[in-house]
């Protein structure tokens, strides 16, 4: 099949880009070349593609694929997206490139390395080579291939065996408003290590494209707390995938708070590849206007005795659209699986819509799998109850919407992040009629 215009636009300049990165190790250059080939073959998905039925991404092709040159950005623009009293290092990337002058680096205990990808390739090339790209499932995903081909930089966090890192790590990917960038995060948590990491995405107003890819590899007994905060420009396209490879007895939780973007697509793919794993995948998304938020999760129970918990909540106003697709696979071998999935959506206007679809594929016979989706308006009965106690209509609405959303945010264990998001929620929730 001849490449479409979109495929060409999105790879225009790739050969020059690759040539300019001749200093990279050959395995990485080959990796990029293969990814470009894959994308050339795949092309951008259309709404005829089952996984993209409700999410038209043609607009992404309007922005050249070649990574944006990092723009100048005043520290005052980035500042609001860093967390006050965070207690750990905060790495800032501008348009996909590490910006040490904007970052707040702090000493970390021995046994944990946090750096940009360039430095990691210099200091720990074997580790990067061993893990980069290995957690990525669904490699046919066109956006994954594009990220693989084009990523310019990223954050690498490596925690050694038995190391417990008390201070969290924050990685902020900031966009200056135009072009495309390809944030890349690699977290490798060795046996019995513990770490919390926050990935933030933000930018100045503009129709930029962020195509992000995150990999988390949790070895046996590792505990990883992951948070993702999307505060992109309301004109931006944000397409991201998070790939989790979890080993025996690891405990992993992710909370995905999605507030920005004209179009946001999050894929979370978790492979539970050992016994006794506990995996939590929670999220909250808000949308209004003509915005669209699409979440696709896939939790693959490959081994017995694992638990997965998933709660996603959406608040949709205006003419916004939400899409939720939650896959749970339970392999033949995965007896005693306990999987719970819940998707709850609050529709605040007549024109907001949600397409929600649980998708369970179970091949084992001794398992517990539950799923539920609720879509509704604010409860008239609850509103009346609050008003009958003297609380005004607007305040009553605000209380109920906030309560709905807050139940996800309150699970954020890093105080500074939770407090910041509570403030953002108060400001951003469509609490007035």
């Amino acid at each position: 099949m001849a490449p479409t215009a979109a495929q060409e636009t999105l790879l225009t300049g790739f050969d020059e880009f690759a040539a300019a990165r001749a200093g990279e190790p050959s395995w990485l250059r080959e990796h990029r070349a293969r990814a470009a080939e894959t994308f050339r073959g795949e092309g951008l998905p259309t709404t005829r593609h089952e996984e993209w039925r409700f999410t038209p991404v043609a607009a992404v092709a309007q922005v050249p694929g070649q990574p944006a040159v990092a723009g100048d950005v005043a520290p005052s623009l980035v500042e609001p997206f860093l967390f006050a009293e965070f207690g750990g290092p905060q790495l800032v990337f501008v348009d996909g490139r590490f910006a040490p002058q904007l970052s707040r680096l702090r000493d970390l205990p021995a046994g944990v390395r946090v750096s940009d990808l360039g430095s990691a390739l210099a200091t720990a090339p074997d580790v990067v080579r061993q893990y980069l790209g290995t957690a990525v499932q669904f490699r046919q995903h066109a956006f994954t291939a594009l990220n693989d081909a084009w990523f310019t930089d990223g954050a690498v966090v490596i925690v050694d065996r038995n190391v417990v890192v008390e201070s969290p790590v924050h990685v902020l990917y900031f966009s200056t408003g135009a072009g495309a960038s390809y944030p890349r995060t690699l977290l490798v948590a060795a046996e019995n290590s513990q770490l919390s990491i926050v990935e933030s995405f933000a930018g100045v107003d503009g129709g930029y494209v962020v195509n992000a890819l995150t990999e988390v590899l949790a070895a046996e007994g590792a505990h990883v707390d992951h948070y993702k905060v999307n505060r992109e420009s309301l004109q931006a396209h944000h397409v991201a995938s998070t790939h989790l490879h979890l080993a025996k007895a690891s405990v992993f939780a992710t909370h995905n708070i999605s507030l920005g973007g004209l179009l946001t697509r999050n894929d979370i793919n978790a492979t539970l590849d050992g016994e006794g794993i506990e995996c939590t995948v929670n999220g909250l998304y808000l949308a209004d206007g003509d915005r669209l938020v699409d979440t696709h999760t896939a939790i693959d129970h490959a081994k017995p005795h694992c638990h997965s918990y998933e709660i996603y909540k959406g608040v949709l106003d205006g003419r916004s659209r939400g899409v939720f697709n939650g896959k749970i696979f339970v392999r033949e071998d995965a007896q005693k699986t306990d999987a719970k999935q819940t998707n709850q959506v609050l529709l605040l206007s007549d024109d907001a819509t949600i397409d929600t679809k649980p998708q369970l594929e179970i091949f084992a016979d001794d398992v517990k799998c539950t799923h539920g989706a609720t879509v509704g308006q604010l409860s008239e009965e609850s509103l009346f109850y609050l008003r009958a106690r003297g609380i005004g209509k607007d305040d009553a609405r605000a209380l109920l919407i906030h309560a709905f959303a807050e139940s996800v945010v309150e699970n954020i264990k890093i105080d500074s992040v939770r407090h910041a998001l509570e403030q953002v929620l108060l400001a951003r929730l469509p609490i007035r009629e």
Binding site: S379, E380, E381, S382, F384, Y385, L386, R387, A388, R389, G390, I391, G392, K393, D395, A396, L399, L400, H402, A403, F404, E406, S407
Partner: protein, 260 residues
């Protein structure tokens, strides 16, 4: 504005008619309630008791098709539910709503401050608020842990009803409307609830007790008893009327000679 006994009746209901889903429920209720009085509204299921309570509180589902309700001389039916609450009308719900995620303490503070602002009083500070809560919780024998919980979430039937009266004690309304507060209560809970209500009785405050059974009226002794049947008050009397109803049931009083 100065508080105190006023010239007008506290509540004046004149020929009130209301319907829900095109079904006429109230067919002309007239009732006068003065400060200091306790009125019991009794009647069989479907007689319109709870509809009357809901219409007074301003529930949307009911459409008022005729008559008027004056609260301290003001048109009550013209007010939003929150305005009625701020003016001093309190409905203790028959089925209190569970509201996950809304903390009891936070909710009460918001409600109390809304009511106080309306009365021209300043917001209570955290210490005053905590002191008031503690005092009223003791009155209703409530566990302090309740403050950390969400509004009515996971409460037993009895806890929910106690919570209604607790809220009433906090907000100190002028007119308390208790909608089947006794339903689902065991005798101990009933006594606690009644004690809470009685503690609020005062010459400035009126209470309307809506109930199917006479049992609650052993503890909250009414000044007047009205019997509602098919949307009309068919009989009024003193507290002895409740005992008579208990002994004879409602059938002797059904208005088979009344109406079209």
């Amino acid at each position: 504005m100065a508080e105190g006994p006023c010239e007008t009746n506290m509540l004046q209901i004149n020929d009130l008619k209301a319907r829900v889903d095109d079904k006429d429920i109230l067919k002309g209720i007239s009732l006068t309630v003065n400060a200091g009085e306790v009125h019991a509204i009794m009647g069989p299921n479907g007689s319109g008791k709870s509809t009357l309570a809901s219409v007074l509180a301003g529930r949307d589902a009911y459409e008022v098709t005729g008559g008027e309700v004056l609260f301290e001389g003001k048109d009550l039916l013209d007010m939003d539910p929150e305005e009625r609450a701020r003016e001093g009308v309190f409905l203790a719900f028959q089925y209190p709503v569970e509201i996950p995620g809304v903390n009891n303490g936070y909710f009460l503070k918001a409600a109390l401050n809304a009511v106080r602002q309306h009365r021209g009083q300043s917001d209570l500070d955290a210490i005053e608020f905590a002191r008031l809560m503690k005092e009223k919780m003791k009155l209703l024998k409530m566990d302090p842990s309740f403050l950390q919980r969400s509004v009515n979430e996971g409460f037993s039937g009895g806890e929910k009803k106690r919570n209604e009266i607790f809220q009433m004690a906090m907000l100190e309304p002028k007119l308390c409307v208790l909608d089947e507060t006794d339903s689902g209560l065991d005798i101990d809970a009933l006594q606690v609830v009644a004690q809470g209500v009685n503690a609020l009785r005062s010459p400035e405050r009126a209470v309307i007790v809506v109930t199917h059974y006479q049992r609650l009226l052993n503890y909250i002794v009414p000044d007047f008893v009205h019997v509602l049947s098919e949307g009309r008050i068919v009989k009024s009397g003193g507290k002895e009327l409740a005992l008579e109803l208990e002994a004879k049931g409602y059938s002797w009083i059904e208005p088979n000679t009344v109406g079209a």
